[in-house]
């Protein structure tokens, strides 16, 4: 009789705190509760060991509570013939209570678990008429009530049933625990993979190196090209958000969110360019990351802010007088800044020519060292140019209302989309005959065909 009050864990020598053992004499009511608490504690300890620095210790309990209804899709452990026919659901042996080995056990089934199932089978064989499902715990309160009202004069059958329920409840908890641990270890793997990928990306491993080796460009340039093409994909997404936002006549606050996210999208591009400038300034300066038509208008590694504003001015109507003044003032100040940077760059060119060409070569290596130092200054200019571009976009969004800003950014996106489309067309134009007139007609018709669906030509 006393045997049934001893917890299963203790019966089979599992690692359990001693306080749990001394409940032999206590009433049945507390048995299950204490069991649940202790197993929870065991699980938390197990998970702490498993997860090391990646997760806070508070997590296991939280994740355990994420799954109020437990999954029934586990492997069935092949059981011996002592298995009762009354089992309706899986009583799969998802027993993973071993503390230190959790990260290796991805499936509920494991060599260790099979060891534990056989004693379970023995206990199951004792009562064959009770179905053990996840609702066994729900049954327990009833059992407890019945137990207490009979003044602890429990007959063997009832005891067996209660023990069965305990078993079922325990197994369900273990299954749940195993499932959660499986998820946790998958999460760990995912995080590690992401970290590896991040590290690889930053070190220019494989993709960058591969592309560089194949395309004869530097690793930094290859990485930027990759990131830029991803940025272009994001750009498409943002543009359609802007478009639907405008057509849906969203409230200003809703539209503001979309506009702000588009500005952040551009901020992201400037962040990418900061890294690219350090890695390979010439790649940015030559504009090989951009399409040919865009390259036409390239200024210091990107678009010329005053040109962009000029493009926008006519299309931004209607503007208040204050807004008009603001836009023209912005155009004027960006022109001044561009002029200043251009002149600074020209002085750098001249200085470089002087160094490389300069006079009788007294010390070739020294000359080269000086020239290298001057070349490095190019990075500063591209950085300042990008800074100017970023500031211009921000100022635009300050001057305009939310709706105007949304339309403005849509215009910018579409403008560059068209330039890219133009580049594609140019690249694929027929070149067999050099008959001028025939050529131009053909290209014009192509353009006319393209216009309605210009948004599809996003990538070069």
């Amino acid at each position: 009789m006393a045997n049934h009050n001893i917890p299963y864990a203790v019966l089979h020598g599992m690692n359990v705190p001693t306080s749990f053992i001394h409940q032999e004499g206590s009433s049945f009511d507390f048995g299950e509760l204490e069991e649940a608490i202790v197993l929870q504690g065991v699980k938390i300890r197990n998970d702490d060991e498993a997860k090391a620095p990646l997760f806070t210790t508070g997590r296991p309990a939280a994740t355990l509570e994420m799954f109020p209804s437990w999954p029934m899709r586990f492997h069935q452990t092949p059981r011996g013939s002592s298995k009762s026919g009354g089992e309706s659901t899986d009583s799969g042996s998802a027993v993973n209570t071993n503390s230190s080995k959790t990260e290796n056990q991805l499936e509920p089934e494991s060599p260790i678990s099979t060891k534990k199932t056989t004693p379970l089978d023995q206990q199951q064989g004792m009562a064959s008429d009770i179905s053990r499902t996840g609702t066994s715990i729900a049954k327990l309160p009833q059992e407890k009530r019945r137990g207490s009202t009979s003044e602890k004069q429990l007959d063997a059958k009832t005891l067996r049933r209660l023990a069965q329920n305990r078993e079922a409840a325990r197994k369900s908890r273990l299954r749940k625990k195993a499932y959660v641990q499986q998820l946790e270890s998958s999460r760990i793997k995912l995080t590690q993979l992401e970290q590896d990928l991040q590290r690889a990306r930053s070190q220019g491993f494989f993709l960058g190196g591969c592309a560089a080796a194949v395309g004869n460009i530097s690793t930094g340039a290859a990485i930027f090209d990759m990131e830029y093409s991803r940025w272009l994909e994001d750009d498409q997404r943002h543009m359609s958000e802007l478009r639907t936002g405008l057509n849906a006549h969203l409230s200003d606050s809703d539209l503001r969110i979309i506009v702000d996210s588009y500005i952040s999208h551009y901020d992201e591009l400037f962040r990418l360019k900061v890294a690219a400038v350090k890695a390979d300034v010439f790649h940015l300066l030559t504009g090989m990351w951009a399409t040919p038509a865009e390259r036409c208008f390239l200024w210091m590694g990107g678009f010329r802010p005053s040109e962009l504003i000029k493009m926008l001015i006519s299309q931004l109507d209607p503007l208040t007088e204050q807004q008009v003044m603001g836009i023209y003032s912005l155009q004027h100040s960006s022109q001044q800044a561009e002029e200043a940077l251009t002149q600074g760059l020209e002085q750098l060119h001249q200085s470089l020519i002087d160094t490389v060409a300069g006079g009788p070569v007294i010390d070739g290596m020294q000359q080269m060292a000086v020239a290298l130092g001057k070349l490095a200054n190019l990075e500063g200019f591209v950085r300042q140019a990008d800074n100017l571009r970023q500031q211009t976009l921000h100022q635009l969004s300050r001057i305009l209302t939310v709706r105007q800003a949304a339309r403005c950014f849509l215009m910018i996106g579409e403008y560059y989309g068209r330039l890219r489309a133009l580049s594609s067309l140019w690249a694929s134009r027929p070149r067999e005959s050099m008959m001028g007139d025939d050529h131009s007609c053909q290209t014009t018709t192509d353009l006319q065909m393209v216009q309605p669906s210009q948004n599809h030509f996003s990538n070069f």
Binding site: Q336, A337, E339, L341, G344, L345, Q384, L388, Q395, R398
Partner: protein, 130 residues
């Protein structure tokens, strides 16, 4: 934009000096003093192209800045180090002060021009007349 309160460094000047120490003067204090002598002060180096760009910017706006070339100043090296500490970044030049107050390096100067705060500041300091 950073604003620097003038004269706050004066209290750091040690009152007693041993005979062996050369009285050099705090470089930061010298920078401040020079910065307040004119409406627009640019700390520069004659070989620096970005400094040339910032000078062109102000000249293009019709401002006549006073320029201090650190490579031509005997105490230039110390002032360069002090400027790096002040900015919290390298390079030390160009650095612009308007009306005695620090505007910053090239990126800050351009940002303030684009967002429209530089011109009012210049007018306030008397460097620009409409």
């Amino acid at each position: 934009m950073h604003c620097q309160t003038t004269g706050s460094w004066g209290s750091y000047m040690p009152t007693t000096r041993t005979a062996a120490t050369v009285v050099v003067g705090d470089p930061l204090e010298r920078i401040e003093r020079l910065a307040s002598e004119n409406a627009v002060v640019i700390f520069s180096m004659s070989s620096c192209c970005m400094c040339h760009a910032v000078k062109r910017l102000f000249c293009g706006m019709g401002v006549n800045p006073s320029v201090i070339e650190l490579d031509q100043d005997p105490r230039g090296r110390d002032m360069e180090k002090a400027l790096i500490r002040l900015l919290g970044a390298s390079p030390a030049v160009p650095v612009v002060f308007v009306g005695g107050k620090l505007v910053g390096a090239m990126d800050r100067v351009m940002a303030s021009h684009i967002n429209g705060t530089l011109v009012p500041l210049l007018k306030q300091a008397g460097a620009l007349w409409l």
